[in-house]
Symmetry: C2
Subunit: 410 residues, 2 copies
C-alpha cells in the first residue's frame, strides 16, 4: 500500500548539525521495504551516557526487555534498530534474535554485545528472520562517513509518511551544546510512551542520573501527552544519549542552574518530535491541541484531556469539521474525573461555545464552522473545580486510518 505524505507534514526535514561522538550508518536489507534503508547502526563515543524510557505494556517485545537490561547496567556503546518486524511475541527465537542482533552490532563497532541497545518496529508476532539484517549490518563500512539525520530517520520508519527530526542548540557553562533527535511512529500511539521509537543525541557532558531525570520528566509532557488511537505499542522506546564531547565540565546535579537552558532545548526537541508523530497519525487531516484547565489535579486534567482526545466520536466529528461540542461534554463525563457540569466552559480556538453548563449566548455556528476548516485546532475545556491543567495533542479519525489499518499486514 502506498501512503500519501500527511497533509500535516512539515515542508522539509530540518537542518541538523553533527553531534561529536555519534557515528551512524544505515543499511537496506530489502526484507520488507524495497529501495529504502531499514537498519540503523549507531556508535557512541566511549564517554557517552544513555538514559531511556520504555513502553509500560505488560507484553513488551524482546528488544525492549534487552534494552531495559542494557540501561540497568549502564550500557553506552551503541544502538541497532531494524524496521519491518517488531520481534514481539516471538518467544525464545525472538530473545535469541535480539542477542544475535546485538552481537552483529558489537562485532561491527567493536564492543561487547551487552553494551548495544536494540530496538525493533513493525509487525508483531511474525518470527524475526535474521539473515537479511545480518547481511545488512555486515555490509556497513564503518570507515564511511556518517549517514544523514534524514536517512537515519527514514531507516527507523514503518507506516510513517515522512521522516521526523528536530534539533536545538544551547550553551552549558558557556560551551555550545547541540541536541538532535529522530523519531518514528504514526499508529499504535497512546498515552504511555506515545511514539514507538525516538533517539535523541547530544554532545553535552551530563551525568547518567541527571540525564534520566530530565528524560523521564520531559517525556510526561511530550511523548506521553500525545495520542493517535489510544493503542499502546509493545516496542516503544525513547533513548537519550549524551556523548560528553562538548567543552564544559560534567553536570551532575539536577538543580544546577546551567541546566535550565539545556532542559528547555531538550524539551523543545521532544515536543517537536512528539507533535510530528501526531501530525503523521495514520489518516490524520487535523492536528488538535486539547487543553483542560480548572481541574482538581494534573492527573485529573490529563485523564479528561485524554478522554476527549481518544473519543472516536470526538475524533470523527473533527474529521467532519463539525464543532460537535456535545461530544466533548460526553467525553468529560466518561473520564470519571471530577468536573462541574453546570460550570463547564468549552472553547474552540477563540470561540466560546459553552459556559455555565449551557450553550454560550455568543455561540455562532457559522463562525465555528469556519474555524473548523483549519488544519490545526485548539480545544480548551475548563472544568471549574480547581486550578490544575494539562495539554495533550491528537489528530482526527478519518477513512485513511481504516484504509491503513484494515490491511496493514497484507
Amino acid at each position: 500500500m502506498h501512503l500519501k505524505r500527511s497533509p500535516l507534514a512539515p515542508s522539509h526535514f530540518p537542518d541538523m548539525p553533527h553531534i561529536g561522538g555519534v557515528q551512524m550508518w544505515t543499511a537496506k536489507t530489502g526484507a520488507k521495504y524495497q529501495g529504502r534503508p531499514d537498519v540503523l547502526l549507531v556508535k557512541l563515543a566511549g564517554e557517552s551516557r544513555v538514559a531511556s524510557v520504555f513502553t509500560k505494556s505488560t507484553a513488551p517485545g524482546a528488544p525492549v526487555e534487552w534494552s531495559k537490561a542494557c540501561l540497568a547496567r549502564g550500557a553506552n556503546a551503541g544502538l541497532l534498530v531494524n524496521a519491518g518486524n517488531a520481534n514481539v511475541f516471538t518467544g525464545q527465537i525472538g530473545r535469541d534474535g535480539v542477542r544475535d542482533m546485538a552481537n552483529m552490532a558489537a562485532g561491527k563497532i567493536g564492543c561487547e554485545a551487552q553494551d548495544v541497545y536494540v530496538a525493533s518496529t513493525g509487525v508483531i508476532g511474525e518470527p524475526l528472520i535474521l539473515s537479511p539484517i545480518e547481511q545488512g549490518v555486515k555490509g556497513i563500512q564503518v570507515a564511511d562517513v556518517n549517514c544523514s539525520w534524514e536517512d537515519a530517520a527514514r531507516a527507523i520508519s514503518t507506516t510513517d509518511t515522512y521522516p521526523k527530526g528536530s534539533a536545538q542548540s544551547c550553551t552549558l557553562d558557556g560551551a555550545p551544546v547541540h541536541i538532535c533527535g529522530i523519531a518514528k511512529g504514526s499508529g499504535m500511539i497512546a498515552p504511555d510512551m506515545a511514539t514507538m521509537l525516538s533517539f535523541i543525541f547530544t554532545d553535552a557532558n551530563i551525568s547518567r542520573a541527571v540525564l534520566q531525570v530530565l528524560l523521564s520528566e520531559l517525556n510526561e509532557t511530550s511523548f506521553n501527552a500525545i495520542t493517535v488511537d489510544s493503542d499502546t505499542s509493545t516496542s516503544d522506546t525513547v533513548l537519550l544519549a549524551a556523548t560528553a564531547q562538548a567543552s564544559h565540565g560534567e553536570i551532575n546535579d539536577i538543580n544546577d542552574p546551567e541546566l535550565v537552558s539545556f532542559k528547555r532545548a531538550l524539551g523543545l526537541v521532544m515536543h517537536d518530535l512528539a507533535h510530528q508523530v501526531v501530525k503523521d497519525g495514520e489518516g490524520a487531516s487535523k492536528f488538535v491541541e486539547i487543553c483542560v484547565t480548572g481541574a482538581e489535579s494534573g492527573s485529573a486534567a490529563k485523564a479528561i484531556a485524554m478522554s476527549i482526545a481518544n473519543s472516536p466520536l470526538v475524533k470523527t466529528a473533527i474529521a467532519g469539521e463539525d464543532a460537535n461540542w456535545g461530544r466533548i461534554v460526553m467525553a468529560v463525563g466518561k473520564s470519571g474525573a471530577h468536573a462541574n457540569r453546570d460550570k463547564l466552559a468549552i472553547y474552540f480556538g477563540p470561540h466560546l461555545v459553552a459556559k455555565d453548563g449551557y450553550r454560550a449566548p455568543e455561540y455562532d455556528e457559522d463562525r465555528l464552522a469556519g474555524y473548523m476548516k483549519n488544519s490545526e485546532l485548539k480545544i480548551r475545556v475548563d472544568v471549574a473545580v480547581g486550578t490544575e491543567s494539562f495539554t495533550v495533542w491528537t489528530c482526527d479519525l478519518t477513512h485513511g486510518y481504516i484504509d491503513i489499518n484494515a490491511d496493514y499486514r497484507s
Copy 2:
C-alpha cells in the same frame, strides 16, 4: 443521511405478547424525524414496581437526574421518551423541560408528574424545544389500543437501523409470566451502561428490591459487557417495570428458588437486546465475541476483554478480515491487567493461532483467512494466570462509522 439496515440485523422483529398492566402509545412530532414516531408514552398499572440503572457519566443529562429521583421515591406510574434531542448540557432550561415533559405525561395518564420517568436520546447540547413534544403528547388518545412493540421500539430510536425487541416467557409458582423488552442504541456505546435506552416490562409480581438486584446483576454481563466505540452516553437508562398482574403471589426474596427460571428468562431478554445493539453498531459489518479466560479475577478478565474490544487497531483489522493476532497481544499488554505473555494462548473460533507466547505450530493463514470472512466471530484469549473469565461483545470499525459520525449533526 439515510442509513442502510445493518447487515447483522435479525431477519424480522420478534413476536412479542401483550403484558398485562402496560399501556403504550406513540406520537410523531416531526421535530427531527419525519414520517416515524419519535415519542413513546407508557402507563403502568397501579401495582407496578420499577427498577432502573443509569449511566455512570459525571455529566448526565437532565432526564437521567429526573429519573434517578423518580427511582429513589419509588415512582411507578409511567414513562415518557423522546428521540432526537437528548436534553443534555442544557442547563436550567433543560431541567425545566424534563419537569414539563413529566407534567404532560401525568396529565395524559392521570398521575403526579414526579411519578413519571423521563428519558431522552439524540443530540447533546441543543436546547430542547418542548412545543412539538407537547403537541405530540396532547394528540395521544389513551382510549386507543396500545401501539405495537415494534412501533414503540421505533419511537425511541435515533441512528438505529432497525427496531430492537426481545421476549421470553416462564412460570413463577406455576403461573405464566411474560417479559418483553425494547432497546435503542448504536453509537456512544461503552462499558458503563452500554445501550442508551432499554425498557423491559413484565407482568411478574416481584418486589422492587428483588427487581433492582436482578436488573443490576444481569446488567453487568449484558448491557455493561458490550462496546461499540468506548464512548459513554450521558443518557443511558435501563428500566425494568413489573406490573404484578400475573396470577402468583409476590416474590420478595432474592433467594426464592422460583426466581431461577425468571432470572434466566430476564437474562436472555437482556442479552438478546444487548447483542442487537452491538449488531447495529454504527457501521458494523462483523459481530465479535471476545472471551478472556485464565485471568486473576473477573474484573481483570473484563479489563483485558474490553481493552481488546475497544482497540481501534483490533477493530480495523477485523473490518479488513485480517486475523492480526499481534494486535490482540498489544491490547492485552496495554490493559495493564496481569497476564503471562509467555503462556498466552489465542484462538480465532476453533483455530489456535498462538500459544506459549509464540505463533502456534498449527497456524494456517489460509484457514484463518477463511474463518475471518464470517459475519460472527469468536476470539478467545487465555492469559494463563488464574481461573476467572469474562465475555464481551463488540463490532468492527469501518468506514461506515466515520461516515455516520463525521456528519451526525448536519
